[in-house]
């Protein structure tokens, strides 16, 4: 899902950068106000953890593999979509500058896809579905699937606007592949949240706990 350099023309890449920067600034403000600036080191270490988590190869089926994006996981556990924006921005900077995964000019688009869309879709769909079905782990799985799938569709649309990939084949290819990866991302996210909730319930949403945990 990482768009490399040269796959988006410079003027469009600049627009995505501006949009992404707005969310990055809002995420920094969230970190200061909601998280308290003193706890920023904690988020930094967590970002390193998310980076390692992304290294796990997950079996998708039919010989293909994928990896966790982690945006939904971070947003759900830390209780804010801005947590995903903040963490994934740092992760994407390191991936782009050190490992060449993603790009410099396309980093704005990648932050929008994985951090902003992944985080916001993951967080709000989790809370929306949770309020409807009163369960903590199924909504997490669905939210992670949606975050993965919608981010991939956004990526396909950006590539179409850039003129580097046709719309319909792009949506079919990216949509199908990430719909499959999304199922694994959903199951793994739900499993990870279950583990975190049972071993360290105080971590969920920075101590608030998932629905029903207060009871």
């Amino acid at each position: 899902m990482h768009i490399p350099d040269a796959f988006i023309p410079l003027p469009q890449a600049a627009i995505y950068w501006i949009i992404a920067l707005i969310f990055v600034i809002l995420a920094l403000r969230w970190a200061r106000n909601e998280l308290s600036e003193e706890k920023i080191p904690l988020i930094a270490v967590l970002a390193a953890g998310i980076f390692a988590i992304q290294a796990f190869n997950l079996p998708v089926g039919m010989g293909t593999s994928g990896h966790l994006v982690g945006g939904a996981l971070a947003a759900i556990v830390l209780g804010s979509p801005f947590a995903a924006v903040f963490i994934l921005t740092i992760v994407l900077i390191i991936q782009g500058v050190v490992f060449g995964d993603g790009g410099i000019t396309t980093m704005g688009a990648n932050i929008i896809n994985m951090g902003v869309i992944g985080g916001f879709v993951g967080y709000y769909s989790y809370h929306g579905i949770k309020s409807a079905i009163k369960n903590d782990f199924i909504p997490a799985a669905i939210a992670a699937w949606l975050a993965c799938f919608i981010s991939a569709i956004a990526c396909a649309i950006e590539m179409f606007i850039a003129g580097t990939f046709p719309l319909v084949p792009g949506i079919i290819a990216m949509g199908t592949y990430h719909a499959a990866i999304g199922i694994i991302e959903g199951v793994i996210t739900a499993g990870a949240i279950y583990l975190i909730y049972t071993t360290r319930p105080d971590l969920m949403e920075l101590g608030k706990g998932p629905a029903g945990s207060e009871a």
Binding site: A13, E38, L42, A44, L46, A48, I90, T199
Partner: protein, 284 residues
């Protein structure tokens, strides 16, 4: 990717002229080359700036003392990130062209078009030049140096602090990740082993990921407390000493930027010959 962390950092700890170069110089040159390459129109003559910039990269790489094999190894690891999209280009009618000439007809009505092959080649040239400069930057500059350079270039101190901490713990988690993988191997667990129930494989992976998340969180808590003990507060920042760019380095930077800009601008002007020739003819 994380498995490569130690290797990349080891390469970056070299002692060549390029390694010793101020990180700011390398960051500016790498970013300038990438932006210049991306800015160039998607036209077949991209080969000219592509070759010029790649030649510039090759000269710097040669001075870094790193082998061509090192570059190729890193290139092969990065190529899959973009190569599949580039390969698929040849089967589609790209929106930048009006007419399409099939050069190969495959079953199921699939065609390979000359124009699409041309566009795929343009993308490939741009992609390879861009990632080459990223490889150059990260293979000759340690992450902490890169961060200090970015701070000196004006990156906000909050970001520098967070990224600095993240980099430090990246190595810790790379090691933890390695241990988890070793434990999997010792117990003959393979996530892609079809003899194991799929549900069991996913559960094991989910727990490994969940425990890594908890470990990183708990490490974060310990780091935070130890930082508090050492006087950390909300007004703290990562101190980066001021450093002047050497005159030689500055000369190299100016030369490099001029070369990159000229290497892209001149072919562009020639491509739009109509704009250049009247100016030249008026001079004559």
């Amino acid at each position: 990717m994380i498995e490569e962390l130690q290797n990349i950092e080891r390469q970056a700890m070299g002692n060549s002229r390029v390694h010793r170069l101020d990180a700011r110089t390398k960051i500016i040159l790498a970013f300038a080359a990438i932006i210049a390459m991306v800015a160039y129109p998607y036209s077949p003559d991209v080969i000219v700036p592509g070759v010029l910039l790649f030649a510039f990269f090759t000269v710097i790489w040669a001075f870094s003392g790193l082998s061509a094999v090192t570059y190729l190894k890193r290139l092969i690891l990065i190529l899959p990130f973009g190569i599949f999209i580039i390969i698929f280009q040849i089967f589609f009618e790209n929106s930048r062209y009006d007419t399409f000439t099939p050069i190969l007809n495959l079953p199921l009505g699939i065609h390979v078009y000359a124009e699409s092959v041309e566009f795929a080649t343009i993308l490939l040239i741009k992609f390879i030049v861009c990632i080459s400069f990223i490889i150059l930057l990260s293979s000759t500059t340690t992450m902490q140096d890169m961060l200090a350079g970015a701070r000196r270039l004006g990156m906000p101190s909050e970001f520098v602090l967070v990224i600095g901490l993240m980099i430090r713990y990246l190595f810790v988690f790379a090691e933890i990740y390695g241990k988890v993988i070793t434990v999997f191997e010792i117990r003959f667990f393979n996530a892609f082993d079809r003899n194991l129930p799929y549900r069991y494989r996913l559960k094991t992976l989910a727990y490994a990921i969940g425990s890594l998340f908890i470990r990183s969180y708990e490490q974060g808590e310990r780091t935070y407390v130890s930082m508090l003990c050492r006087g950390y507060s909300k007004d703290s920042f990562l101190r980066v000493e001021k450093k002047k760019i050497h005159a030689k380095e500055l000369c190299f930077l100016i030369f490099g930027v001029i070369f990159i800009v000229a290497g892209v601008l001149l072919p562009y002007m020639v491509y739009y010959r109509g704009l250049v020739l009247p100016v030249l003819s008026s001079l004559i």
